[in-house]
């Protein structure tokens, strides 16, 4: 079980659904959702630089298609802190997109640990937990 999970998504329904699934799966002890990506980014940057008391989350589910600041913009903004984030925080893209181009782009982005498609499924969560256990626990 993870300590802390962030969900960054502008879609309320999607957040509701993800939260419901994570809860049912006992995925994390703390789950925090951000409708505004900008807000999530601020939190993360503060944690990474140690200017805020909050610790970094273990897992981030990041949506791509968001207004004002897209998932890619979000990743670009985090890129300078990659070293600080890398071993503490896994970023998974969670998108409704079925665009193969975006999957490829995600593969090439080192900050991204995986490309997940909405709706999140139980097996997927189990796999996530298994793959993480090797490094985190």
């Amino acid at each position: 079980m993870f300590n802390k999970v962030y969900i960054v998504d502008d879609d309320e329904v999607s957040i509701f659904l993800t939260e419901a699934l994570l809860e049912a799966d006992n995925f994390a002890s703390e789950c925090r959702a951000f409708l505004d990506a900008q807000q999530a980014l601020q939190m993360l940057l503060q944690s990474a630089t140690g200017t805020a008391p909050d610790t970094l989350p273990d897992v981030i589910f990041l949506d791509l298609n968001m207004p004002f600041i897209s998932g890619w913009d979000f990743l670009d903004a985090l890129a300078p802190y990659e070293q600080a984030l890398k071993n503490q925080c896994r970023i998974y893209i969670l998108t409704s997109s079925v665009d193969e181009q975006e999957r490829l782009r995600a593969n090439e982005t080192s900050l991204v640990s995986g490309f997940l498609q909405k709706p999140l499924e139980d097996q997927c969560l189990t796999l996530l937990k298994e793959s993480c256990s090797g490094t985190l626990y």
């Binding site: 329904v13 049912a24 298609n65 207004p67 409704s96 079925v98 975006e102 909405k118 709706p119």
Partner: protein, 713 residues
């Protein structure tokens, strides 16, 4: 034999000697008692009488020969001596001793007669006649010597001939003098200098004069031949000149006499025949060229000789070598003259040109021949077919002025003109107009033609109708453009499908699974159901949006345009927002000509203005009252419609690439789907226009819509 007679004082014979019978035929008694004067010739009675009257003073008088009538009636010449013996008592009369000198008188007459002849020959000769002594000085000259030499008789007398002869002629004169002194009469031409210093050419005939076997001197006859020589020289020169002219005629030329013999043959003809001129002159043409007897040439020669009229004609020969000759035969006073030109090559070229122009006239391409000023000299049937003009109406006109029209590309037209001026071959594609006004695309291929002196003489243009190709090209371009747009649309469509359409689907799927698992009577179950319903609704909304957008795109290009009064549409939109505008305290400045009508689609213009005004209202700045300016003005191609506000504005660096994209939003604090500007852009493009935006944060936003040329009515 003398005759002695005595006459008395009265002149009557008193004595007559017996010899009277022999000399005069009279018996003495026949004469005695008769008056002596009766027998003297009337012409000489006076002379004799006058001499006789001297007798009383002189004792003796000699009476030169006079004529005395003889018994036979003939005149005898007598010469007498009369002696006064009147006082002699034996005689008592005048004693007359007569002698018959008839024979001598006759001789003397002949001599005088001859001398007169010679004198006449000398003095009356129409030419100048002179004598020169053995030393070479003039002795006697006749009157014409004066006019010939300018010296008078006295001046010439004793003058050496050398003084008269021009120095350059002296040698010839001396030779002639020596020759004549050797007894050889001859003629020589020398040059003399007159008293006035004028040189004259003189032909002199000199002959030796002998008297009693002794050479006495030289007699000469001189004739002024200056004029004759000059004339002769002139004639010679003219003859030479004429000959030169005849020779300079590069075409063959010859003259025939009335016996058909060559009297003159030009060098060109000799070389044409491959013979020497001397071989031809004097020969009969029909014997020399027997093959001509069957020719038209032969008939024409006879005709010219007979009718004395000039003839021109052409004849084709197969032998001795195949050729086509153009003859001119004209009559001369003693025959005919023939001049001909070998037109074989010219004819061949003409035939070739005929063939070529036949090809040119049959080819489907247009062929235009222009003069150096690009005025049409000739066009083929193809050109007439392609343009609809007939040949007469295009000759003298310039193709560019005649064929180009309003939609012809001015740049290309200018380029073509430039290329004509460069006098180099070129090709170009240009839109032309037929006589009927129908558009036709021509591929023109122009070749300038130069003469041997490199002067431009013609342009030849080949014109090919490439309308179909051009239309295909245009279609292809449009197709490419459509494809590009469709591709771009497809990309956007993929994005919409993968995100906006997929998002509610993913949610619905997830929720459906969740609902399956959740116990029915929990709060979460209800919420999940509610959200499922919401997700399906948003799916529906996206599908509707997409349908809307796609229909605009498809119909925008095909819908018929109508006359739209822009000001009226604008007023309707403003009416729609009336309440909101007044609530916001907004000021709207509209600057649109009320009469302005656009060829457009009314619904789109309404929707565009509606969306832009809605945005202006939505994103107005809190700090200041909203001001909106709507203007429409004519621009280069069509009209420019501008909607400017003083709202919150946007940072162009951030938004420029995404502003008009579907479902893109830039104001997190304000509700919106992100479809408004996308629709505006779609509609503007469907109308064939363009939209641009300029914005600055906290200053305002200006949308400029360029409604293209199609909007101009």
């Amino acid at each position: 034999m003398d005759l002695i007679s005595v006459v008395d004082k009265a002149g009557k014979y008193t004595f007559v000697g017996e010899s009277a019978k022999v000399i005069l035929g009279y018996a003495p008694q026949e004469l005695i008692g008769t008056e002596a004067y009766r027998f003297i010739h009337p012409d000489e009675q006076m002379r004799v009488d006058l001499l006789m009257r001297n007798l009383p003073v002189q004792r003796k008088v000699r009476i030169p020969a006079f004529r005395f009538l003889s018994k036979t009636g003939q005149w005898r010449w007598l010469e007498c001596t009369a002696t006064n013996m009147l006082h002699d008592r034996h005689v008592r009369g005048i004693l007359i001793n007569s002698r018959d000198v008839t024979e001598e008188a006759k001789l003397g007459y002949d001599k005088d007669y001859h001398q007169a002849y010679y004198k006449s020959l000398f003095f009356e000769h129409p030419d100048a006649v002179f004598t020169v002594n053995l030393k070479g000085t003039f002795q006697q000259v006749n009157q014409h010597m004066h006019s010939l030499t300018g010296y008078n008789d006295n001046q010439l007398h004793g003058m050496p001939y050398a003084k008269l002869v021009a120095p350059h002629s002296l040698a010839a004169a001396n030779t002639a003098f020596t020759k004549v002194l050797n007894g050889l009469a001859h003629s020589v031409e020398i040059c003399i200098v007159t008293a006035d210093g004028v040189e004259k050419e003189v032909s002199v005939t000199v002959m030796p004069v002998y008297f009693r076997g002794e050479l006495q001197g030289v007699q000469g006859i001189a004739k002024d031949v200056t004029e004759v020589n000059r004339t002769q020289k002139l004639i010679q020169e003219q003859a030479q000149q004429l000959n030169n002219i005849l020779e300079s005629i590069s075409e063959p030329f010859y003259a025939l006499d009335d016996e058909w013999r060559f009297t003159f043959v030009s060098a060109a003809f000799a070389s044409f025949k491959g013979m020497d001129r001397s071989e031809l002159v004097g020969k009969c043409i029909w014997e020399e060229c027997p093959y001509l007897l069957n020719s038209r040439f032969y008939q024409q020669c006879l005709d010219v000789a007979q009718h004395k009229t000039t003839l021109h004609f052409e004849e084709t020969f197969t032998s001795p070598k195949p050729c086509i000759l153009h003859f001119t035969i004209y009559p001369t006073p003693d025959g005919i003259a023939v001049h001909f030109v070998d037109v074989t090559l010219q004819k061949r070229t003409e035939q070739e040109i005929k063939k070529l122009s036949f090809v040119a006239s049959k080819t489907i391409n247009g062929v235009v021949i222009m003069d150096p000023d690009r005025n049409i000299e000739w066009v083929n049937d193809g050109f007439c077919r392609l343009t609809g003009y007939n040949r007469q109406e295009v000759i003298g006109r310039k193709p560019s002025e005649m064929l180009q029209g309003p939609e012809t590309d001015k740049k290309v037209a200018a380029q073509i003109l430039e290329k004509y001026r460069s006098q180099k071959p070129f090709s170009e594609e240009i839109l032309n107009y037929k006589k009927s006004g129908e558009k036709v695309w021509f591929y023109i291929d122009v070749t300038p033609i130069f003469d041997q002196f490199d002067n431009l003489v013609n342009y030849i243009a080949l014109e090919t109708d490439i309308t179909e190709k051009k239309e295909a090209e245009k279609k292809l371009l449009k197709l490419a453009d459509d494809l590009y747009k469709q591709n771009r649309d497809l990309q956007q469509f993929t994005y919409i499908i993968s995100h906006n359409l997929r998002a509610p689907v993913a949610n619905a799927l997830g929720l459906a699974q969740l609902v399956k698992r959740l116990p029915k009577e929990t709060e979460t179950y209800d919420v999940a159901l509610q959200k499922l319903y919401f997700s399906v609704q948003s799916l529906d909304s996206v599908i509707k949006d997409m349908n809307n957008v796609l229909s605009i795109r498809d119909s925008g290009r095909t819908s018929p345009r109508e006359a739209v009064n822009l000001k009226q549409v604008c007023n309707e939109v403003l009416e729609h927002f009336e309440k909101q505008l007044s609530y916001a305290g907004a000021k709207v400045h509209v600057s649109i000509d009320p009469a302005l009508k656009l060829a457009s689609i009314r619904a789109y213009l309404y929707s565009i203005l509606h969306n832009l005004l809605s945005n202006a209202l939505k994103y107005k700045a809190e700090a200041r009252p909203l001001e909106i300016r709507i203007t429409a003005e004519r621009d280069k191609r069509g009209y420019a419609l501008t909607v400017a506000d003083n709202g919150t504005g946007l940072d162009m660096h951030v938004v420029h690439s995404q502003l008009f994209q579907l479902y893109k939003r830039f104001h997190p604090e304000l509700p919106g789907k992100g479809i408004g500007l996308f629709l505006v852009k779609t509609q503007v493009e469907a109308l064939g226009g363009k939209i641009t935006v300029d914005s600055e944060p906290d200053k305002g936003t200006t949308f400029k819509i360029l409604l293209g040329a199609k909007h101009v009515q």
